[in-house]
Symmetry: C2
Subunit: 257 residues, 2 copies
DNA sequence: TTATAAGTATTACATTGTGATACTTTTTAT
DNA sequence: ATAAAAAGTATCACAATGTAATACTTATAA
């Protein structure tokens, strides 16, 4: 609609991106009018944009239902992303090793604004679908990985984050109390690792260790998700934590402990 | 530059997508002029497009080097893709199980035009980076997965593909002889699985089984990559093939054998 | 230090995207 | 089965928006 920084801002492109962004978990396949409704763009605009995206291979079109779907190009972009993120090539072999060593699901998450995003996932146990695919974004404050990252920041900064950043309830036991989260992070800062239960899904325990950046603050974390039917916190601390920390340190650009 | 289907084609959007596509394995971080050079767009256009992509969160900009990089949004798109592809949720738990069962790297690939694209990867052994990340596109004819898929097509059609589709040499032993490939596919059609050596990387053996579609032709395959230092073809046939086939059939929408 | 290249900003112009409208097809309700 | 409503498709006149040239600034190389 309205342009931003004027003459250096290409409206038509921004609208096209808006169309891409309209697809998500809950809207994985949309008709023209659904896209129009979701983006707030008008019918004609969506018609042209979707058509262009289709011709350029960014949208699949079902000739039967006339619905649009993401195309393989979306995965190709992820491929390109991976080559651009120096942490990924560095981490991958170590993450694989770790996942085989302990036989549990290992993830690497990076901070993305006020959320964390899963960049690598190595599932070893069947679990719910969303936990097995990359690119998932979750409120940083609600995840062990996010808290582990924040814990490496100067206290004033992470406290500001705890005060401001978004929270969302995923299970009946997701912590929504910001004071409680602050206490948790203070503790993580001391211990050097984060542990959390029932935050994203019930009966799941998350264990996360920060990947230190060269400036002493983490921008990523290695995380391990296990079922509370097979593990308890003490077992995790004993069996998993040492190797998890070792892996996180080995990935850390400076290797700081 | 030139517009396509006229009035339903938004040039500015297409150019913006061109910019996104310019990033790849070899160009993971580019300056304005590099983007201009690679896309063939002129300086001013790239300036505006890159700026817009940046403002919309699709390009990261290093304030030091002024170079642009893919952003986390590229992974979010992959996340959306996964929800749109019905095969992935269906396959994921079975792929995980398989990878744990045999302890070797399991992939799922789909046909994407004349290439295959890796949609899921479950590495269990450290290997070269490109083999551990999703979204990689390879000539279908050069891969066990691609051939397994083609082998389910009517003979005339796959023979046409063998004649026309692109080939690329990855190792000194990549098969570039189309007759040889045709023989290989004929055999796969009989056997119901594909096996190949040294195609993408030396000392690697690939074993692939088609995931049958409802129309009797495959559009995806389950694939297993192993090192020839630890395996030979007979061992693979004995130990891995049965479970691989079982998995592929379990994923197949119709469950056809 | 100068020269060359790359990035940034501005502007005048007309190409290109806009959104209204009308037409066709599909879906839903009666 | 038929009508009504909704969704998809096509066309068009207008001017808003993207264009590319140019000039200015900042980096990099000679």
């Amino acid at each position: 609609m309205t342009r931003k920084t004027d003459t250096l801002y290409v409206n038509a492109l921004a609208k096209g991106l808006q169309v891409l962004r309209a697809f998500d978990e809950a809207n994985s396949e949309m008709s023209l009018s659904q896209i129009a409704a979701r983006t707030g763009l008008d019918k004609s605009a969506v018609q042209r944009l979707a058509n262009t995206l289709h011709l350029e291979g960014f949208l699949e079109k079902d000739s039967g239902t006339r619905r649009f779907r993401p195309s393989h190009a979306w995965l190709e972009l992820a491929y390109a992303y991976y080559w651009s993120d120096p942490l990924v090539p560095q981490a991958m072999p170590k993450l694989i090793e770790l996942s085989q060593q302990i036989g549990e699901t290992i993830n690497m998450a990076e901070l993305s604004g006020e959320h964390i995003i899963y960049v690598s996932r190595l599932p070893t146990k069947r679990s719910y679908f969303a936990a097995t695919i990359i690119g998932r974004k979750l409120p940083a404050l609600s995840t062990s990985a996010g808290r582990a990252i924040l814990s490496t920041w100067p206290e004033a900064e992470w406290r500001a984050a705890v005060a401001d950043w978004p929270l969302k309830s995923f299970t009946p036991r997701t912590t929504l109390d910001r004071d409680e989260i602050a206490d948790s992070i203070a503790r993580i800062a001391q211990d050097g690792y984060a542990i959390s239960c029932n935050q994203m899904i019930l009966n799941e325990i998350g264990l996360a260790a920060p990947i230190w950046g060269p400036d002493g603050r983490a921008r990523a974390a290695v995380q391990c998700s296990v079922s509370s039917y097979r593990w308890d916190e003490d077992m995790l601390r004993e069996k998993v934590l040492p190797v998890l920390l070792e892996t996180a340190n080995a990935i850390s650009p400076m290797g700081q402990g």
